[in-house]
Amino acid sequence: MPYKTVKDLPLKENFGPGHRLCQGCGAGIIARLVTKVAGDNTIITNATGCLEVSSTFYPDTAWGIPWIHIAFENAAAAASGIRAAYNAMIRKGLKDSSPNVIALGGDGGTADIGLQALSGALERGDHFTYICYDNEAYMNTGIQRSSATPYGAWTTTSPPGKLSPGQKTEKKNLVAIAVAHGIKYAATANVAYIVDAANKIEKALNTSGASFIHFLSPCTPGWRIDTASSVKVSRLAVQTALWPLYEVVNGEYITTVKVAKRLPVTEYLKVQGRFRHIVNKPEEVAKIQAIADSNAAKFGYGPLSQ
C-alpha cells in the first residue's frame, strides 16, 4: 500500500536518539525515514562518512537494527556478502527469514571511491538497496569536493579564485550509471518530499535484485545554510528543477513530483553560502540555469515563473 501522508508512516523508530549529527542534517532525516520504512527485519551496512561516525560513537549506537561499517569504499560489497550469507543459511535451514539489506553511503563513498564496488554489486544483481545520501561533498573530512559537487559550488578543494568558478564540473549522474547496469528500480529522493521518498524506499526494497536511490541530503555547515532551513533549501532544489524527482522502473523514467511553475535557480543559489561567489555573476548563473532547464525538459517540469 503506498503511503499517502506522513501519518501513514510506521511509528517504530530504529534510528536515534543518541546520534551526533549536526542540527538540520539531511543524513539523519534519511536514516530515520529509511529505518522506519524498512522496519525491524533489516540489516544496514554503512560506508565511512558523517552518518557512520556520528551514529556509532562507541559505546553508543543510534541504530535499533543490525548495522555494520567496514570501510569507506565497500558498502556495496558488504551488502553482497550479507545477502549471500542469508541466501546460503536460509537454504541450509540455519536462518528462517530473509531481511532487507540496505547499504548507505555518502556521495564520496558512492560516486567516487565506492563506485567500483557499487558497479560490481549492481551488475551481479545482488538483492539489496543502495541509498546514496548526497550532501554534495566529502563532509566528514571537512567539505572537500566530490564528483557529485554541483557546478560552481565552493568547497575547500574547489575554492573559487581568479582562475576558478569553484567546482568546475557538473554533477556525475549516478542514477543513469545505476540504470545502465540494468537494475529494475532506481529513483531520486529529497527530504522535503518525505511521502514520495517513503514510497520509493518501499518500492526499492520490494524490487528483486539490486535497487538504487539517490537522496539529496542537505548539509548545513557544508552548504553554508541556516540549521533550521535544510528542508526548505532542499525543496528549492526540486522547485528549480536542479533535483528533479523521478523513478526509473525497468528502464522507464517516470516523474514522480511535477512542478508546474519552476523557480529560477537563483532562488536556490542565493540562500546558500557555498554559491555566494557566483550568485551575482550572470554568466555563471546562466550555466546553472541551463542545467535546470535541461532537467525540466527531460522530466516535464513547467516553465519558469517570473
Binding site: T56, I65, A77, Q116, D126
Partner: protein, 391 residues
C-alpha cells in the same frame, strides 16, 4: 578415507567443499585461479551448497567475506600477490573485527616488474595485519591445514582470521596423491557453529563502531592478545587432527637439529629440498640441520630458540626483503627471538628465490657452507647476503 590426485589449489578447494562453507567470494589471480575455478564448479554443479560471489576486485572479495562472516556464515576467500596487496586495508579490519575468515594465499612476487612466480613478498608485506598465518610444504599439508584453519579460526577463544600460505606454482600447480578424510570426519573435527554475535534482526548489534582514544587501545589490545593466545588452540588443533588422520605437522619441522653446527630456517615448500640437502651433506660428514616453519603468526619465538639453542650458527633463508631494514622480515624475527631469550648465536640472512628464481641443490649447499663458515669463525661478516642473483 580416500586418496586422490590433487594440486595445491584443488586440495584447498576440496577441503572447502568438505567443510560445507556457506559463502565464497574471490577474484582470480595467477597462480590461485584454478582454485577459484574449481570452487565455482562445485557450486555450479551442486556439490557444494554455497553462494559464490564473483566480485569485481579483491578489495570487495575480502569485504564480502568479512560481511558474510559477520552475518554468521562460514566463509572462504583466496588470493595472491597484487590481490593480497589490494586487500591490505580490509585485512586489518577483518582481524580487528575478529571475523573467522579463512583465506588461501598462493604466494607470489609483487610488482614491479610484474611477475607471476613464487616468493613471499606478498604475505610479508601483510604480516602486521593481525591474522594467524600458516605455511604449507605440500598439497597434502595444504589440504590438512585448511581443515585445521577453520577449527582454529572459529574457536571461541580465538575468533580471528587465518591465512594459509602455499607457494605459487611449486605447490598450487603440482599434483600429488592427497589422502583425504571423509566428509563426516571433517565436519566432526571442524563443526559448524551457530554464533550468537552476528548480524541478525532478532538480536540487533552494531559492528564496526567508531573507537575514540578512550576505547580504541583496548580493542586493539584485545585483538593482539587474541593472536598471541591463539597459540595453544593452534597446537591443540594440530594434535587432535593427528588423532583422526595420522597427520600432524607441529609448529615447525626440525630435521637433524640436535647436533647441528648450523641450522637453516626456512618457510614454505623449500623445506623439503633443504632436508634433502641436509641428508646429502650429512653423508659427507657436515653437521647441518633444517628448521622449516609452519606457523609464522603468532611467531613461536620460544620454541624456535629452544631448537636453535645448541647450534653454532643460524642461516635464515628468505624469499622476501624488507628494503632499507637491517635484514629480511623472517631474519629480523629470528634475530630478535634469540636476543630476547639471551641466546648469542650468529644468524645470517640469505635472500634467494625472488620472483621465482630457482633455488637449486647447489644454492642450498652454498647457504649451508656460509653457515658452517660463520659457525667456525664465530662471527658474522655480512648479515644480509644474496644467493642466485646476478650482480
Amino acid at each position: 578415507m580416500k586418496t586422490i590426485l590433487l594440486s595445491g589449489n584443488t586440495s584447498l578447494s576440496y577441503a572447502v567443499k568438505q567443510l560445507d562453507v556457506d559463502v565464497i567470494s574471490a577474484y582470480p589471480i595467477t597462480p590461485q585461479t584454478t582454485m577459484v575455478e574449481k570452487l565455482s564448479e562445485y557450486v555450479a554443479n551442486g556439490e557444494l551448497n554455497a553462494e559464490f560471489i564473483p566480485v569485481e576486485s579483491e578489495h570487495s572479495a575480502l569485504t564480502a567475506a568479512l560481511a558474510a562472516s559477520a552475518a554468521g556464515a562460514r566463509v572462504f576467500t583466496s588470493t595472491s600477490s597484487q590481490g593480497l596487496l589490494l586487500m591490505h586495508e580490509i585485512l586489518f579490519i577483518t582481524a580487528a573485527m575478529r571475523m573467522p575468515v579463512v583465506m588461501g594465499i598462493a604466494d607470489r612476487a609483487v610488482s614491479a616488474p610484474i611477475n607471476i612466480w613464487n616468493d613471499h613478498s606478498d604475505i610479508m608485506a601483510q604480516r602486521d595485519a593481525g591474522w594467524i598465518c600458516f605455511f604449507a610444504e605440500s598439497a597434502q599439508e595444504a589440504y590438512d591445514k585448511t581443515i585445521q584453519s577453520y577449527r582454529v579460526a572459529e574457536d571461541e577463544n580465538v575468533h580471528l582470521p587465518v591465512n594459509l600460505n602455499f607457494d605459487g606454482f611449486i605447490l598450487t600447480h603440482t599434483y600429488e596423491p592427497v589422502t583425504t578424510l571423509d566428509d563426516e570426519e571433517v565436519l566432526k573435527y571442524a563443526p559448524k557453529k551457530i554464533r550468537s554475535l552476528v548480524l541478525d534482526p532478532k538480536s540487533p548489534y552494531t559492528f564496526g563502531a567508531l573507537g575514540s582514544p578512550e576505547y580504541y587501545f583496548e580493542a586493539k589490545y584485545q585483538a593482539v592478545k587474541a593472536l598471541e593466545d591463539s597459540f595453544d588452540a593452534i597446537v591443540k588443533a594440530d594434535k587432535e587432527y593427528k588423532k583422526i588422520s595420522g597427520r600432524g605437522y607441529g609448529i615447525f619441522n626440525a630435521y637433524m637439529t640436535d647436533d647441528a653446527d648450523t641450522i637453516l630456517v626456512s618457510l614454505g615448500s623449500i623445506g623439503g629440498s633443504v632436508r634433502e640437502i641436509v641428508r646429502r651433506m650429512r653423508r659427507d660428514g657436515a653437521k647441518v640441520g633444517s628448521l622449516s616453519l609452519k606457523l609464522f603468526r603468532p611467531f613461536p619465538a620460544k620454541q624456535i630458540v629452544d631448537t636453535l639453542l645448541k647450534t653454532k650458527s643460524v642461516v635464515v633463508l628468505e624469499k622476501a626483503t624488507s628494503p632499507g631494514a637491517i635484514s629480511g622480515p623472517l631474519h629480523m624475527e629470528i634475530q630478535a627471538s634469540l636476543k630476547t631469550f639471551d641466546v648469542t648465536i650468529p644468524a645470517i640472512n640469505i635472500i634467494a628465490g625472488l620472483g621465482g628464481r630457482e633455488i637449486g641443490p647447489e644454492d642450498i649447499r652454498i647457504m649451508f657452507n656460509k653457515g658452517l663458515k660463520v659457525a667456525s669463525q664465530k662471527r658474522v661478516d655480512t648479515i644480509m647476503d644474496y644467493v642466485g642473483v646476478n650482480i
